[in-house]
């Protein structure tokens, strides 16, 4: 297809055409060249301009870089740390004066730029305490190319540096690194010293068998010390990082720990005892003293607990507690045994003594009388021993009762000593010397006073073959109506060894074993004396010389009475046989006691009925009228308490308010209280003498007489109360009245609360039961109307008449609130009257 020019025969037209084409071609080429030249010139001008701009930019940048380098350099120079900046080939880019000083290089920092660091390495390494590990570490750091700061390195000259290695990267490409050495010698040694001292104290604590545990604020274990690991059975690695509460604390203590946390959060220390779980699963008791510790900013970083193993102590405590419980039980058993013994032994002795008394009134031959004397003597000894033992137990349980009365002290003591004169041989003289200033009566428990003196004089007599036993009373002090009187009993007997003087007042201690063998006795006498003296705020002392004699002296504080009063206890019973008591009911199951009482009543010509237990008594009461009931407490079928309550609640029965005398085998005060609160009027502890029973008869008739006479020595119930009922119910026994008023006031508010609760919750059956139970209480304090209202409520309850109850209860409460203050007033009046 190519067109070949025909060179052999070109025509003129053809040639002309060729020329035209060539001309046009030349023109085109020329135009193209000149336009190309123009374009190229423009382009090169552009390039020149660009180049010039680039050069200027370069200069600016260079200037900026050098300025920045200078700034950086001077910054680095003034840095308080040795700085060395190296490129990836370990050529020095920058360093500072301090770095060169640190490593003994005597050069200007500027001169070192560009030098290779490996040339210094050996020299520098030799300055380190451990040159080899320095080299190894430096290589390792550069190989890893990871930032490592605050590495502690030690120099041979004793300085300590903190080293930072910081690799530099440009677009992820490693281009070199920076070394920084900071001299921390001072801080380091201080820190070391603190650490050392901390460790020292921790060591001491550890050696004291105290387990230390450090936890952070989330209870993660930071550090567990050896002793703690030993205690819990975990290794320190096993504990580190664990939550101490989850790992070690039993569930039941988590709550207590939360409390402790709050305390610790407020910076308080705490000491507490808890159990911990050991690795083996066993529990252990520890005493923990926990305290928070703080960081340098003063914030709580965690806490440190000091643990002391108290497992053994806890076990011991538990054992002791158990032992105490056992001992406690044993004591209770002993107390019960004593109470039973008083019942079991006193009854037969009571019978022997009582029957002997009756025997004297029969016609006896002289030899029979002698035998009877011997029986009586033995029974008395037995009684004495028994009452010694009972006295001790009474005093020890704090239940010894003071029965104080006005008595002429001088006359009483003289009479007491007098009785001894007849009991002893003539070789011992009994003398009494009484301070003439003691011419007054005192308020005292004659039984106790007699017991003290009889014990001391009896003792003296026992150990004195010949000579004299001298009883002396001396007024030491008199303040107001209180008198302090010193008693002494001096003998010329065998005396007491000095080493035995110390223990002579302890229970069951006698002078010596020989003494016990030769003279007998329980060894309780002096112990009782000491306790009785103490009851009168007194002290007892003894001085003695072996072979010459002893002197026991004590003092007692009494209230003095000068006013003359009739003396009742000197009377002969036949003279004072009360004529107001004619018909008596005996309630007693014991045949011998029955016989004793029957004998006495026969002798005094008083008629009687006999009930073998409470059930029979209640039946007899219904159809007979009595003046008095003698009531045993412990009986089959129905006991004395219940029988009394039944009698007191028998309305419209002539015997409802009859005097009842409790005859208890136990001498304990609480039995007496129980008897009184059950509604009995008097209490007599078995065995009792005919005189004691007669005394009670006398008191009853006296108060009866007093109340009927309305004499000034009688308490007048307020006429706002039901006087008639109160007088007939208490029959002049105002102490009992006082007690009953007090019991009423102590209990009535809680009972009323219950009543209101039952009413509010419409618990009618409980309400009626309660009404029945508290019904008698009101009339006993003279509020008969309230008792009547309670009865109405009770009766409405029996009819299931809820509407009536709804009206009656508020009416009752209104009445109660209007009148109950009267009871409190009356109690206060009674109290005042009794204390005068």
């Amino acid at each position: 297809m190519m067109m070949q020019p025909q060179l052999d025969s070109p025509s003129v037209e053809e040639l002309n055409l060729q020329i035209e084409i060539l001309k046009r071609r030349v023109a085109r080429e020329r135009a193209a060249r000149s336009s190309a030249e123009l374009l190229l010139e423009q382009k090169s001008l552009e390039l020149y301009k660009s180049n010039r701009d680039l050069m200027r930019l370069n200069e600016t940048l260079e200037w900026r870089v050098s300025e920045r380098t200078n700034t950086l350099s001077s910054l680095i120079q003034s840095f308080h740390a040795g700085i060395l900046l190296e490129d990836e080939h370990r050529n020095i880019i920058l360093t500072n004066e301090l770095f060169l000083t640190q490593f003994n290089i005597d050069e200007d920092p500027a001169n070192l730029v560009g030098m290779n660091c490996s040339s210094f390495l050996t020299d520098v390494a030799s300055l380190f305490e451990d040159s080899e590990s320095f080299k190894v570490r430096v290589d390792e750091l550069q190989r890893n190319q990871e930032k490592v700061v605050n590495e502690i390195v030690k120099m041979k000259n004793g300085r300590v540096f903190s080293r930072d290695y910081v690799p530099t990267f440009v677009d992820d490409k490693y281009v070199g690194h920076l070394w920084k050495y900071r001299d921390i010698t001072e801080n380091y040694t201080t820190e070391q010293r603190i650490k050392y001292s901390e460790e020292k104290y921790r060591g001491i604590i550890e050696n004291m068998e105290l387990g230390l545990l450090e936890v952070d604020t989330d209870h993660r274990i930071i550090r567990a010390y050896d002793r703690f690991c030993e205690m819990t059975g975990y290794s320190s690695e096993e504990l580190k990082g664990q939550n101490a509460l989850e790992l070690l604390l039993p569930e039941e203590y988590q709550g207590a720990m939360t409390e402790q946390d709050k305390k610790r959060a407020s910076g308080k220390q705490g000491i507490y005892e808890i159990e911990l779980k050991r690795k083996s699963g066993e529990r252990m008791w520890v005493l923990i003293s926990g305290a928070p510790f703080y960081n340098s900013e003063g914030n709580i970083d965690g806490s440190i607990g000091i643990h002391y193993d108290i497992t053994d102590r806890k076990r011991l405590e538990a054992e002791l507690r158990q032992a105490r419980e056992i001992a406690e039980k044993a004591r209770m058993a002993e107390k019960e045994f004593l109470a039973n013994m008083s019942h079991e032994i006193r009854n037969p002795i009571n019978a022997i003594a009582g029957l002997t008394n009756l025997f004297y009134d029969t016609n006896l031959k002289p030899d029979q009388l002698e035998l009877l004397d011997n029986i009586k003597y033995s029974a008395d000894i037995l009684l004495g021993l028994l009452s010694d033992i009972l006295d001790i137990s009474k005093i020890e349980s704090g239940k010894m009762e003071l029965n104080e009365k006005q008595l002429p002290l001088a006359a009483s003591v003289k009479a007491l000593v007098q009785t001894y004169k007849f009991r002893n041989n003539n070789q011992v003289k009994f003398n009494v010397t009484i301070d003439p200033k003691i011419d007054f009566d005192v308020v005292a428990d004659q039984t106790i006073l007699n017991q003290i003196l009889l014990n001391l004089i009896g003792n003296a007599a026992k150990f004195t073959e010949a000579g004299e036993i001298c009883t002396t009373l001396e007024l030491i002090e008199e303040i107001g109506n209180h008198v302090n009187i010193r008693f002494s009993v001096r003998d010329t007997g065998i005396g007491i060894d000095e080493d035995q003087l110390q223990t002579i007042f302890e229970s069951f201690k006698q002078g010596s074993k020989q003494t016990k063998l030769r003279y007998g006795g329980t060894g309780l006498g002096l112990s009782i004396v000491k306790r009785l003296v103490n009851m009168y705020k007194g002290d007892i002392h003894v001085t003695s010389e072996v072979g010459k004699g002893s002197e026991f002296s004590f003092n007692m504080i009494f209230v003095k009475r000068t006013e003359q009063q009739k003396i009742t206890d000197q009377r002969i019973y036949s003279e004072m046989l009360p004529d107001s008591i004619n018909h008596v009911l005996i309630v007693e199951d014991n045949k011998i006691n029955q016989q004793y009482l029957i004998g006495l009543l026969n002798k005094w010509e008083i008629t009687y009925d006999l009930a073998n237990h409470g059930g029979e008594a209640v039946e007899l009461i219904k159809s007979n009228t009595y003046d008095l009931i003698l009531m045993d407490i412990r009986m089959p079928v129905m006991d004395g308490y219940e029988t009394t309550i039944r009698i007191r609640s028998m309305e419209h029965n002539t015997n409802q308010n009859i005097p009842i005398i409790a005859l208890t085998a136990s001498a304990l005060v609480d039995e007496k209280e129980k008897a009184i609160s059950a509604g009995m009027n008097h209490h007599l502890s078995k065995p009792f003498s005919p005189e004691q029973l007669l005394n009670i008869f006398e008191q009853l008739t006296e108060s009866d007489a007093n109340s009927s006479l309305g004499g000034h020595s009688t308490f007048q119930f307020s006429n706002e109360l039901d006087i008639q009922y109160l007088d007939s119910f208490y029959m002049g026994d105002f102490e009992r009245a006082h007690l009953m008023f007090q019991i009423f006031l102590d209990n009535i508010n809680s009972e009323l609360d219950k009543l209101k609760q039952h009413f509010d919750s419409e618990n009618w059956s409980e309400l009626v039961t309660l009404a029945h139970r508290i019904k008698p209480n009101f009339v006993m304090v003279g509020l008969g109307k309230l008792t009547d209202q309670m009865l109405e409520i009770e009766q409405a309850g029996k009819r299931s008449d809820i509407n009536s109850i709804r009206q009656l209860v508020p009416a009752f409460i209104k009445e109660f609130e209007a009148t109950h203050q009267l009871v409190a007033n009356e109690r206060a009046r009674l109290s005042e009257w009794l204390s005068n």
Partner: protein, 180 residues
């Protein structure tokens, strides 16, 4: 349009058919700017179209065939003239796939006013390359020639499937499958 496209086309025509053909075409085409093209200049695209239209009549060839033929030739010229710009050790697929992201940005640095087509690589693995051409100049055939020239330059054998994705041929898909 870059001047080199004009100058190389005219030179190829001259070499094949003599300057008379070049002269005839240029005279018929009546370019507006000038009929003196230089490789460093830049000229309107429609002038190239006019030249191609005239050339197609003169040589009795379709414009498409002409453009493909010219593209094939032009790649050879690039290969000779700019061999130093070619990354050694790469193959034709890699080169083709890099046109959009490497060659064109470089061209734009030198000639900020250059108007270049756009290539999307739809998929590429060792045996197959699918690329889509976008240009309002509708020069898909020229691109086909260039691809062929490229394969020849790298001395590789492949079958090329060319699909017009729209009626005006501004979008064309090339599926280049390497021969086993």
């Amino acid at each position: 349009m870059r001047g080199i496209v004009f100058t190389e086309l005219l030179e190829l025509v001259e070499n094949k058919f003599g300057y008379e053909t070049v002269d005839k075409v240029l005279q018929k085409a009546k370019p507006i700017t000038s009929d003196a093209y230089t490789s460093v200049g830049s000229y309107p695209h429609r002038e190239l179209v006019s030249i191609l239209v005239e050339l197609s009549q003169e040589l009795d060839m379709s414009i498409g065939d002409l453009m493909e033929l010219y593209g094939h030739h032009l790649f050879g010229v690039f290969g000779q003239r700019y061999s130093s710009l070619f990354i050694p050790g790469i193959d034709a697929f890699t080169f083709l796939a890099s046109v959009e992201d490497h060659i064109h940005p470089e061209v734009l640095k030198l000639y900020p006013d250059a108007e270049l087509p756009k290539f999307d690589i739809e998929s590429k693995d060792h045996s197959e390359l699918i690329m889509v051409y976008h240009s309002k100049r509708k020069m898909g055939d020229f691109a086909l020639g260039l691809i062929k020239g490229c394969l020849e330059y790298f001395d590789e054998q492949a079958d090329i499937l060319m699909e017009k994705l729209n009626d005006d041929a501004t979008t064309v898909r090339f599926t280049i499958r390497r021969r086993a």
